[in-house]
Symmetry: C2
Subunit: 334 residues, 2 copies
DNA sequence: CCTCGTTATGTAATGGATTACATTATGCAC
DNA sequence: GTGCATAATGTAATCCATTACATAACGAGG
């Protein structure tokens, strides 16, 4: 492997000059600069990353943890984050936690090892190591929460107005004429689900539908959507519309309807959440709350960079715009 | 930040002993070992990653590039790869190339910077830096190709028997009674598509269907599936079945059918490829060639580790089993 | 022609761990 | 009790780039 000393020798200059020519070209006079650049190219020199990082105490790296990388909602967020990271010459390390606390802890420990300069976590739980860091450094801790907003964690976050979005979804169903609605939430441990649920309940209360909202708790998966839709439709007085807190659960719910010989949207309307890339192509095309997935990723990285580069002033919590996208899975009740 | 020297001081031993106690415990006597461990814990010590990596010339990191991280096929492969990497105490850096040569090159350059010990690429193109490395180190070059198999690249690879799988799909349609088949391939630059196409053509030739196979070249996306299905169905003598080289294109094709007032599978059968996580939940549930996605990722990492740990003997090219999964999108022709 | 400020370059310290080699302690055989 | 092998520990070199500080070169102003 070629080192900076090899290049210096080849170009007949000191290592300091090589370093400068490569990372701070203005500090070197023209003749030497091109001499160095030429030598570096000829030798195929690339600065050793570990050495650089050791010396500068910067890894130029961000760790992003997701509960499930193969969920297209998360992978879209990742895409936006990678974009922004790359633009700022950072690289993005992705950790799939499988909702497992041990893995969360492992990824968080990368911060203590200086393996990453900062961390973005998509989820609602913060690993102990990271909690300790927040306790110690407060708003300076290089940790940002994406998608969720859990005030108790004391970290900056980017998310949509979940309660508002959920209320809009209920309003849409109400406007179509639905008066009895089934809701399939995600785990209520997560603020994302609690916020959406409170939005639903607020909207229902406003419209005196309080007793007409049936709630089931799912886990965002297709299977749980399917199973809980069956439950809801087996009620004595079944709902005419289902609002699922993820598109995957909506897809599961529609499968359940089909199983029961019901048509969506003719017999039962279904609203999803997220607007994943298949929501449009699915049949029926899903009515869903669209989250600005790439933008969430991008913004999370930008916020983290603000912290890392000391531009941030205290904690911030940013709300990005969502949009109810009405497609073919909702219609007036029969 | 606590360093090894801090721990050594606290425990009253040398830094060498601390290092040994942590990474090679057997080399240290019991009383000191626990002394060190205790001190390390009390101080919250974690070895600086860059320093370790500089000294050992190992980054314990693998870079995995994918053309599109939000494609659930790729994210499933990633999942498997992360699994295997973590188990071997490596971490996985993921690079989304967006099919862009410049990004591919950027990620490949991580090898020269020793930012990663090895690289796995899902795709058919190898960045110049990586090609140079292969030219120089041959089978020792820490580079593995996942999903595709391009002999000219001289790298080890993991994939399924694409030609065989495609032939099976055609056979399935033939068995159902289809005699005129439309095929929507991926870009023919990639061996994956060429292999599948030759499988299709072989099967067609064997059954004297040579002139009954209409081929269109897509790009694996939902949109191209939709558009090309329209083209195929506008033919004078339209096919009664479509075989798409990705589930996404199959989903697009089914949308096109619906647009034209045709039902899948009653009027036209559709076969996909990959068995992404929505293939089952989609309506109609897709008949598709299932690839062992997680296993491909896992195996690719294992092969790379074999190279990195000098266990590999020359190049290898591993074929994992695929399976034609028959669901609801195929039926006899009308 | 000297001095001072500026620019360009070089020298060497530095970052934090690992590990070859040197040294000391321990145990066993005779 | 001595000698020797073995185990435990310490000392210090090493990995490679960056950068503070020192030095040299140069031009301008007096």
């Amino acid at each position: 492997m070629t080192t900076i000393a090899d290049v210096a020798r080849a170009a007949g200059v000191s290592t300091a000059t090589v370093s400068r020519a490569l990372s701070n070209p203005d500090a070197v006079s023209e003749p030497r600069r091109s001499l160095v650049l030429q030598a570096a190219k000829a030798l195929g020199y690339a600065p050793n990353y570990a050495a650089k990082s050791l010396r500068t105490t910067r890894s130029q790296r961000i760790i992003l943890t997701v509960p499930d990388i193969s969920n297209p909602f998360f992978s879209a967020v990742i895409r936006g984050a990678e974009e922004a990271a790359l633009a700022a010459r950072y690289s993005l390390l992705i950790g799939d936690t499988h909702h497992d606390a041990e893995r969360e802890e492992y990824y968080a420990s990368m911060l203590s090892r200086r393996e990453a300069d900062g961390m973005i976590f998509l989820g609602h739980r913060l690993a102990p190591t990271a909690v300790a860091l927040v306790a110690k450094e407060g708003a300076e801790a290089p940790i940002v929460n994406g998608c969720e907003f859990e005030p108790g964690l004391n970290v900056s976050s980017v998310h949509i107005a979940n309660a508002v979005a959920a209320a809009e979804a209920v309003q849409h169903l109400y406007d179509l004429g639905h008066r009895r609605i089934g809701v399939i939430t995600g785990p209520l441990l997560s603020p994302i689900s609690r916020d959406r649920l409170s939005g639903v309940q607020g909207a229902a209360a406003g419209r005196r539908l309080w007793n007409e909202v049936l709630v089931r708790t799912g886990d965002f998966s297709v299977d749980s959507g399917e199973q809980l839709a069956h439950e809801l439709l087996s009620e004595d007085n079944p709902p005419t519309a289902l609002f699922c807190f993820s598109d995957e659960m909506a897809i599961g719910a529609i499968a359940a309807l089909r199983d029961r010989g019901l048509d969506c949207p003719r017999d039962v309307s279904v609203v999803g959440f997220d607007d994943i890339r298949y929501a449009r192509a699915f049949h029926p095309a899903l009515t869903t709350v669209s989250q600005p997935k790439e933008a969430i990723g991008r913004k999370a990285v930008e916020m983290l960079l603000d912290i890392l580069e000391k531009r941030a002033q205290g904690l911030s919590s940013i709300t990005l715009p969502h949009q109810l996208v009405v497609r073919a899975s909702t219609a007036p009740p029969p």
